[in-house]
């Protein structure tokens, strides 16, 4: 039994690596198709992120918000809910944080906390609406959550373009955040900020919640078999709603951390994509919070590589979304490498069987 589990874990990693390998191969072909200097561009894409200290710092900066949305999506997916609302929650959380960072005056220690809390609550509400619509009104989670993303976007844009708009900025951006609200930088040559600690804490707490707590067990039970969970006396509706509230809270919280750590004012012109990226890294991590940092590292690395390539060669950065989608599709394809895995497991069982017979 244990050996079978080991083989399954091995194939989980192998499938991720194969998917990434195939995606890189496809990107190589695409780069050569559009670029004058294919090798140069591909080298930048692959090794660019390691060439300067600021780019290496950039990887970590990009990982921080992804870890929030990634863990949030893990929780929701483990509960059986395909809630894509992290995207809107992240955005609207950022707007709520901006409002708190601009309009409220507080001392330095507490101000960021208040901003993050406000953002978290708003994010939780954004995902909570979807949860309530699903559990009470049978609405398809994925459709409502995608609609909610647009609602969050335009609601947020209203606040940024009207009450919070700084007409002196010259473009659609909010007033500058109060100095007291900003998160301190950790290293001098990069923009890595104190949000890193919060991100690591979220990953650890997410792991404990899901794997070590009774509520986590309840979440997984609802996710694997809703009816069984209901007959065992678990309040399925409450579990789903709470789970999605937590997922939304984390996304909103992440939006605030991103705003206070990386920006001086709110200047997103549309949805930022962090929520969808969260879904992607949750898929790569097998919906396991403890693998989220690794998956986030991969995505951040590819992003930084693509941006370096876009800046210094003639390949557009949208290459990343092609890599991303190929990786997701191969990772979730159950039959991909399944035959091989099956053969290895069968062989192992035969060996075990032979051993017990000899004894």
């Amino acid at each position: 039994m244990n050996k079978t589990k080991k083989i399954e874990a091995f194939f989980f990693v192998l499938r991720d690596l194969c998917a990434i390998g195939i995606a890189l191969l496809i990107s190589l072909i695409l780069i050569f198709a559009v670029s004058q200097d294919g090798w140069g561009a591909f080298r930048l894409f692959l090794f660019g992120p390691l060439q300067t200290v600021s780019r290496m710092g950039y990887i970590v900066e990009k990982m921080i918000p992804l870890m929030f949305t990634g863990v949030g999506v893990c929780l929701m997916v483990r509960c059986g809910q395909m809630n894509m609302g992290s995207e809107g929650a992240f955005y609207l959380g950022g707007v709520a944080c901006a409002a708190a960072a601009i309009k409220i005056a507080l001392p330095a220690g507490i101000h960021p906390l208040v901003c993050m809390l406000a953002a978290g609550v708003v994010g939780a509400l954004a995902c909570g609406v979807t949860a309530v619509l699903h559990t009470k009104f049978h609405a398809l989670t994925i459709v409502t959550s995608l609609m909610m993303n647009y609602i969050c976007l335009y609601l947020g844009q209203y606040f940024i373009n009207h009450p919070l708009w700084d007409s002196m900025s010259g473009y659609q951006a909010s007033f500058k955040y109060a100095q007291t609200a900003l998160l301190p930088k950790l290293f001098s040559r990069t923009n890595i900020h104190a949000g890193l600690f919060a991100a690591v804490a979220v990953v650890i707490l997410g792991h404990i919640l899901l794997e070590k707590s009774t509520f986590g067990y309840r979440i997984k039970m609802v996710g694997t078999n809703l009816h069984f969970a209901r007959y065992s006396g678990i309040n399925v509706t409450a579990t789903i709603i709470i789970c999605e509230l937590i997922g939304g809270f984390l996304a909103g919280f992440g939006g605030a951390v991103e705003q206070l750590g990386m920006y001086k004012r709110f200047e997103y012109s549309g949805l930022s994509g962090h929520g969808f990226d969260g879904v992607m890294i949750a898929v790569i991590a097998g919906n396991n919070p403890k693998y989220i940092p690794l998956a986030a590292l991969f995505l951040a690395y590819v992003r930084v590589g693509a941006e370096a390539m876009a800046r210094m060669s003639d390949v557009p950065p949208e290459l990343v979304s092609i890599v991303q989608s190929v990786v997701i599709m191969l990772v979730v394809a159950e039959k991909f490498l399944a035959g091989w895995k099956h053969r290895v497991i069968a062989k192992q069982s035969m060996k075990d069987l032979a051993l017990t017979e000899v004894k």
Partner: protein, 323 residues
């Protein structure tokens, strides 16, 4: 406010509804076929986007509307087949594959647009063709009615015709029977010799054509160029329309028209001083509201049914008591 009301009761408003509903109707008919075959696919957003780009590039480089049409449909069907391959053959999670395809559509179209035109935002630098508007002789001369019935884009007529066509396919053709049988009970259908996978692939193929027409309407009729992420959630709204309309073409058509109308109303309110963000939000908001209202009515029906069953069982108990 008066101007808004005046607009709502004018023929322009009906024309606007048809204009806004066309992509929703076309796409939701595709969704309907796929849904009837028992597959939940939400990759229609990417199919429409791919077709929108394919149509523009195909028509711009060949100077032929037919080639553009075929290019658009080919790209859209390609996405549908990719979905089918991963979900039906490789047994991948349908939601995640849809999400991945939508990401691929959003980024891939920009990538291809850049490769062809050197521009990432829109295709205005190349001259693409448009689908023509159709004036129906005789009918166009009737006052008021002529304005409403005649002078629409050809794809609007195609959309309206697609509803009875899908109805006939689903309800009157052997293919439709197979699609519904597979959707109802895959194993039962297979035991009678129908290949579920093949049927689902056929449904996806036809849906790809519908989604392709919907996508090309956006870039070759509604506006005259391809822009980044121009579908703006219409693929999802079409799914919501099918979701609300159940498994039948006519209710799905009605919900598509409702969502088209909410789009048109949002435009009407531009006249009064309403923040544009709220107007842009309105179609999505009305979709969520629609989902909620239908859910409420389902709840009511279930309650009624439960009450009836209880009544009956009470009656049965009483009878037993007497006997």
């Amino acid at each position: 406010m008066e101007s808004v009301l005046g607009y709502i009761f004018s023929t322009e408003f009906i024309i606007a509804i048809l204009r806004m509903s066309t992509p929703l109707i076309l796409c939701s008919m595709g969704v309907l076929l796929v849904r009837n075959s028992g597959v939940v696919c939400i990759a229609f957003e990417s199919m429409m986007l791919a077709a929108a780009l394919g149509g523009v590039l195909g028509s711009a480089y060949s100077r032929s509307l037919l080639v553009g049409l075929l290019c658009g449909i080919a790209l859209s069907v390609l996405f549908a087949m990719l979905f089918g391959f991963f979900v039906l053959v490789l047994k991948a999670n349908n939601m995640l594959v849809s999400l991945a395809l939508n990401t691929l559509g959003s980024g891939g179209t920009v990538f291809i647009l850049f490769a062809f035109t050197g521009d990432r935002g829109s295709s205005t630098s190349i001259q693409s063709l448009q689908f023509p508007t159709v004036n129906i002789p005789v009918i166009q001369d009737i006052p008021i009615l002529g304005n409403i019935l005649s002078g629409h884009n050809i794809l609007t007529y195609v959309a309206l015709v697609s509803v009875p066509v899908v109805y006939l396919i689903l309800m009157k053709s052997p293919l439709g029977l197979r699609i519904r049988a597979v959707g109802e009970n895959k194993n039962a259908a297979e035991s009678l010799g129908t290949s579920a996978m093949k049927t689902q692939f056929v449904a996806l193929f036809i849906a790809g054509i519908f989604a392709g027409l919907a996508g090309m309407y956006m870039s070759m009729a509604y506006v005259s160029a391809f822009t980044q992420d121009m579908i703006a959630g219409r693929g999802f709204i079409a799914i919501a329309a099918q979701n609300l309309g159940g498994f039948m073409p006519i209710p799905t058509l009605i919900w598509s028209l409702v969502f088209g109308a909410s789009n048109a109303i949002a435009n009407a309110f531009q006249a009064i001083n309403m923040p544009p963000e709220f107007l842009q939000m309105f179609p999505y908001f009305s979709t969520v509201l629609g989902l909620m209202l239908v859910g409420m009515s389902i709840n009511q029906q279930e309650k009624k049914k439960a009450a009836e069953i209880e009544e009956k069982s009470k009656l049965a108990d009483a009878c037993e008591g007497n006997g």
